[in-house]
Every structure is written in structure tokens, then in C-alpha cells.
């Protein structure tokens, strides 16, 4: 008999079906044993009744692989509103039960245990639900960009020149000479604007920042966009709003059960996301935190949190654009605001008080690059291949990068970004 998947069980009410999966939990209630079987998509309750006078069955151990044939019957108390009765159970593979039971609703263990034992603990329904958000986010991101005629690219992660700065880059022994791991696909996505005009990439990026915080990983997934023929960073912000709305909408559509299981409130992406200039944002943060950091050229985490609260209270929005970050804080390829040259045509998008996206307009003229690099004391000769894109014709362009794990972290409301991915990497962690 053809095996069916757990979400298909309700459609077979009244029929005999065959399912396979892991023994998720076993519960005894008098002469009845409930066997909860987990497959790749959900849980199925199997009801085993012991005949009067017979010895109760010896159920297979947790995480054993089983096949079950039986009759589907409605039961509002069972997962999916249905259960399997009169089962014939086959143990396909036996297993050693994990030290931490996966069948409990909450994984009652600390962060270190959860990460150390991620290989097995990612099987827990709540972990799976959270990880599925990431899969749906990637799909929504790509689908909405393809619909807008963007071309997907895959750019090199092994590079000969450090992209944005020397200190935060991992060095690789590349056949006896140094290579670096790309901190972002920035240079390549700009170059590819010269080829396809509108490009996107979903891929790993690597940051050797020794920041051991709740919101940094040394390897994470960046969802990158870059496109040409923009007016300024406003065009980029408009596209970003559409992309974020599509990503959130796609997750809501695909992950309804996961959202319910995790008890999440999905955000609404407003038709116009409120936007503050950096200088305004600093004033509001000062009013709200009482801490005067108005001379600093970046926003501190507590300022971002205060601004997030401000956006909810004054605009009912979980999202807030902060525009015009000081040029001194932005990378050399950033386009200045021509009316206030100390500020940039760039932005961050805060989501629930955390920087989720960075983007902006880039320089597009070769002479501007030479001037920008020279002003920072960097020899343009080290960037000659990249700069040839601008020498040989580039339109005004810009783009952004969404941090996938930060998106999942804020959506799922987990307190530490290490919980927003299956196998996190940080200063101290390279495994599992």
C-alpha cells in the first residue's frame, strides 16, 4: 500500500492507510496506548487498544522508525483532527531514545544543550516550525523578484580582496596563498547590474567580527538584491517594501500550522513604512532613552529598540526605515545625499526594533569611486576589476541585503539569533 504523508491523513477518513515515521511519543491511558508518529510534515495519533485480559503491547522506543497501517477516524482531540485505529505496526528501525524527550510540548533545556544537541533536537516540532519559516522566506523572496524580472546569481565566496574592510574577514589558505571569505556579495552584485540590470542572490556570508552578542553570527544567510535605473535610495526602499510584504505574506500562506504552533503574531507591512532621517531618529531615541548619543554615527541596539517602540506607538508599524546614515559610518561605495553630503542615500530597515536590512544607493561613476577610495586612504589599484564595471558604463543603482536569521529571530520572537538557524556559527561554535 502506498505510503501517505501526515497532512494527507484527514482526506482519507474512513479508509485504511499506510504511514511511516518516527515514534514521537507514547502515552498510556488504561488499556489504550497512544502512539504519536512524526513524519517530515507533522504528527499522527495511532490508537492501540488492548483486548481485555491480554497483555498491553510493548510499544517501540522513542525515535524508532515505524510503519503503520490502519483505519482513519475523526477525533477532534488528535493532531489534524484524525487518528488511526486498529493499527498494524511494523518497527522498521530501532533507535536509542534521545536524552531529551522530543515528545514533550516544550524542549525544557538551556541554550547550550539545545545547540550542542541540535542534530536531534531540531526534530522537535517547535524547532521544525521555526526552521520552516526560513525556507518559506527564501521561497517568497525569490518568487517576488523573479516576477519583477530579476535574474538569480551565485557569486564567489572565495575572493582575492577583502570587500568592505580588513579586520572582519576570514582568511583561507588557498593553495598556499591567502584568500578571503566574502563578507557580502556586494562587489559582484553591483558588477552583475552591468550584466542583467536586476539581480538577486541567496547565499552564505561570513563575518569574522568577534562580537559575541545575541544578534551576531559568524556565518549567516544573506538575501541580496541589486538593480539599476533607480532614482535614488527611495526607489530601493519601495522595492524592499514590496519584497518584505511578499516574504511575510508567503510565510503566512505556507506556514499557517507553524505560526499557530509557535503562537506567533505575524506583522502587517504597511502600505507606506514610516521613515525617519538618521538625525530625527537620534532625537527620538534621545527623548525615549534619556541617553544622549546624538553625536554617535550609528544607532546603538537600545536606540533601535526605542525606535521600534516609537514606530508601533505612533504608526502602528512593526517596521521603520531610518535613512541618511552618516557617510562616515557607511562603506566607500555608498552614494552621498547631494544636498547634505555628510549624510548618505542609504537606509536601514528596523523590524521590531532590530536592524533587519541595510541598503541604499551606490556610487555609479568611476571618478567618484576613485575619489571615495582615495579620501579613505585606500589604493584604488586593489579594486581594479570591480572598478572596471564603473569605467565602462553603469546606471544609477542600489540594493539591499536582508539577514535571513534576523528575520526568523524577530518573526519567531526568539531571544537569541543562535536559535533562529539549525546549526549556528559564532566565535566559540563550529559544530555541530
Amino acid at each position: 500500500m502506498q505510503r501517505i504523508r501526515s497532512p494527507e491523513v484527514p482526506a482519507h477518513a474512513g479508509s485504511i492507510i499506510h504511514i511511516c515515521g518516527w515514534v514521537h511519543a507514547v502515552r498510556r491511558l488504561g488499556s489504550i496506548t497512544f502512539l504519536i508518529v512524526r513524519d517530515g510534515w507533522g504528527l499522527v495519533q495511532v490508537v492501540i487498544e488492548t483486548q481485555p485480559g491480554a497483555a498491553p503491547m510493548d510499544p517501540p522506543g522513542a525515535e524508532s522508525i515505524v510503519g503503520v497501517c490502519g483505519l482513519v477516524a475523526a477525533n477532534a482531540a488528535a493532531p489534524g483532527g484524525h487518528e488511526i485505529q486498529n493499527p498494524v505496526i511494523t518497527v522498521i528501525e530501532t533507535a536509542e531514545a534521545p536524552a531529551i524527550a522530543l515528545g514533550k510540548r516544550q524542549l525544557g533545556c538551556g541554550l547550550a544543550t539545545l545547540l550542542d544537541q541540535a542534530v536531534v533536537l531540531n526534530r522537535h516540532p517547535q524547532r521544525r516550525a521555526l526552521l520552516r519559516l526560513a525556507s518559506a522566506a527564501m521561497e517568497g523572496f525569490r518568487a517576488t523578484l523573479r516576477a519583477r524580472h530579476f535574474t538569480e546569481i551565485q557569486t564567489p565566496k572565495l575572493v582575492g580582496t577583502a570587500t568592505e574592510g580588513g579586520s572582519e574577514v576570514f582568511t583561507v589558505d588557498y593553495f598556499g596563498r591567502p584568500a578571503y571569505l566574502a563578507q557580502s556579495p556586494q562587489f559582484y552584485k553591483q558588477i552583475m547590474v552591468g550584466v542583467f540590470e536586476r539581480v538577486f542572490e541567496v547565499g552564505p556570508v561570513f563575518r569574522a567580527e568577534p562580537s559575541d552578542t545575541i544578534r551576531h553570527l559568524s556565518e549567516y544567510v544573506s538575501m541580496d538584491v541589486e538593480f539599476g535605473f533607480i532614482t535614488d535610495h527611495g526607489t530601493v526602499m519601495e522595492l524592499l517594501r514590496e519584497v518584505i510584504a511578499a516574504v511575510i505574506g508567503g510565510i503566512a500562506e505556507q506556514c499557517g500550522q507553524d505560526i499557530d504552533l509557535l503562537g506567533l503574531t505575524m506583522p502587517t507591512v504597511p502600505a507606506a513604512i514610516p521613515a525617519l532621517h538618521f538625525t530625527e531618529a537620534k532625537e527620538i531615541a534621545f527623548q525615549r532613552t534619556g541617553m544622549d548619543a546624538r553625536q554617535e554615527i550609528d544607532l546603538a541596539p537600545q536606540e533601535e529598540r526605542a525606535l521600534g517602540t516609537w514606530a508601533v506607538e505612533t504608526h502602528g508599524s512593526d517596521f521603520l526605515f531610518v535613512t541618511g546614515y552618516p557617510m562616515a559610518k557607511r562603506p566607500f561605495y555608498t552614494h552621498p545625499d547631494q544636498t547634505r553630503p555628510a549624510y548618505s542615500n542609504s537606509f536601514d530597515l528596523l523590524f521590531r526594533g532590530l536592524e533587519l536590512v541595510t541598503g541604499g544607493q551606490r556610487l555609479h561613476r568611476h571618478a567618484d569611486y576613485i575619489a571615495a577610495l582615495t579620501a579613505r586612504g585606500i589604493d584604488p589599484a586593489g579594486f581594479s576589476a570591480y572598478l572596471s564595471a564603473f569605467r565602462h558604463g553603469m546606471p544609477r543603482h542600489g540594493g539591499f541585503a536582508i539577514g535571513l536569521e534576523r528575520l526568523v529571530m524577530q518573526l519567531a520572537g526568539v531571544a537569541n539569533i543562535r536559535l533562529a538557524t539549525a546549526f549556528p556559527r559564532d566565535v566559540g561554535r563550529l559544530s555541530p
Copy 2:
């Protein structure tokens, strides 16, 4: 006026439109100047007629960024069957013309020049067409797997333990201690079968093989699949056939113009791909090459080519499965053929005489892993996190990995894999 993209021009015949792009070529014919404008998707011919007695216009230089407003008229000789007449041309950005003209049909330069100047030469229509095949392949791969209820994963590229062998791995300075770049997502995709049952990933993999051949890169894109509840490698081969058919079909559907421009003959994926056991393949290769390599435990490139020819001649197929590779050649996680334990439940898929895919059934029992590692003289303690997946319940499972650049190389018929990607990496090349 709203700008339109080049593929939309024919739909506006008889109307005034606005396009933007790069000056691809300029051709003069008496008093008429043809300006070919390239945008991200194609070419548009703009016709400039000089009034009698007036001086001919001074056209903008190659790769300048221009905007054109004008009337769309049919012209069978123009790209897309239409051209723009009575244009008003605005030069948006001037550019230095590249040393190699992009407006010629063929890029008349050697491999080294092409790669050294890839930043600009990837703008050539033939290069773009080839690179679009890769984008369409990734999309088709993901779409067909999502339709089969696979979950997309992103696994770490920085790992604490070298996956398949020590010699072909890049070492990274990870905050003062060694890390390695993942040679494949093999361990993680197997672990994730325990979580989601059916998983796929598209991402970079890294090989420190010093092989300087026409078919090796040190960084390439691997399209990986792994799934549970299989019978044996035959189940994996069935899925692979469906995936390859969907990928080829998706490229044919999306890239019709690119296929025409490159003059490609797309392969047909047979309903049943011919399959040879390794021992049979060796005999046929011997008959065809006259070179007796029947005692070798792998297929040499010339044997693969001979087998590719055999598949076309005897089965009319561009694809050929070779199954049952010797266990001695396969990694430790490979499942043996239980009837002939020196051979494996694994396969390669050859496409036009080149290994395109490797796959097979994996071991799924903890004790079998311990035995396999021990027999190879490897201490299982180094793999304890990975092995915990098998200790705690895993079904029979298997999967495969498709090399994206090899697929493009064979589809496009380019002689060197370095031409099948935008920015190749090899022993000697880290830039652009």
C-alpha cells in the same frame, strides 16, 4: 513616461515608448545610424535618420547609458522584429568603451582574456544567455522539489571537521583555530533527513583539489537532495530522473531566446534513462577505447566519453546511469550492495559523456557507521554529532548532488567549465 523593458517593445508597435540601457553597438549606413541599445533582457534597434544637408549625429560611445523615446515600428531585420524610429536620445552616463567590442556577434578573444575581463565581457549577449541557463536551472530544481514536499535548507559552510577526506579541503583561520570549508553539505543534509525527511539545498561547495583540468573548479554550486524512506538507490535514481527532466524542461521553457542565440540542441530526458552496472560499463569502455582499465576502481574521463557515445548510439540518450561503483572508491557513508558487497548502492549520472551527478543510498544504522569508519581507520569519535543522527533513529535514505556549472557546460557545449560560470575559481584564479 514609464520606461519599458526590451522584451515588451513589440507589444507597443505604433506607440511612443521610453527605453533605457547601454549603447551596445553603433552602425552607420549612409545617412542612417543604427544605435543598438542593450538592457538587462535584450537588444533594441534605434534608427536615427539624418536630414539631407544636416551633419550626421555624433552617437554616444559604446557602453554609455542612454534613454530613448521614440515610435515602435515593425522591422523583421531588427532584434525582436521591431525598431524605434524618430528617437529622442538622452545620454545618461558616459563610458569608456571596452577594449573588446561587445557589439560583435562573437567575442573574438582567448580564454584568459575572457576570464580576466569577465566583469565587462559577461555583458556580451552570448555570455548572458549562457549565465541565464544557470539561473533557470536553479529555479527548475527548486520548483520541482518543493512540489514534491521537500524543504529547502541552508547548511553551514564553515565546519569543524573535514567531511569526506583531509587532503581536498580548504583551511580557514577561525578566530585563531582551524576551520574547514565544506566540500559538500553531505553530513548536514543527512542530519536534516531526520528533521524534515526530504530536503534540498543550492549553495557553494569548496574543493581544494589541485586538479587543473577543464572540468574542475575549486568553488562551484551544488544542487543537493537527500530524502528518507527509500527502497535503495533505485528510488534515488527515479527522483533524479524527474528532477533532471524538470530542470531541462524549465530551461527550455524560460530560455528559448538564449537557446536560439547559443544555437543549442536541448537534450531529451528519456522516460527510462539507460543504466549500466560499473562492471558492464568497464567492459563497454574497454571495447570502445581499446584501453584496458577494467581493474581501475573509477571511470577515467575518456571512458566516460566513450560511454556517452555508447548511450547515444545504442539508446539515443544523452544521459546514462552507471551504478554499483566499487565501495573502495566511494565515501564511508555509502551503502553497499548487499548481494555484492565490494560494490555499492551508488551511481553517477553521465550527461554527454561527463559525470554530472553523484548519488546513492547511504548507511542508516549507527552500528554500520562505526564499522565503516573503523574499517577505514578513522576514529568515529571525530564524527559524534553527525553519528548521533543515526543513533537516534534514521530511515533508509539517499540523495544526490548535481554540479550546476557542469550542467551548464554540457548544455551549452563549452569546452571548459571556467566558461560556464560568471567568475570561476581554480588553482590559479581568485579574481575577478
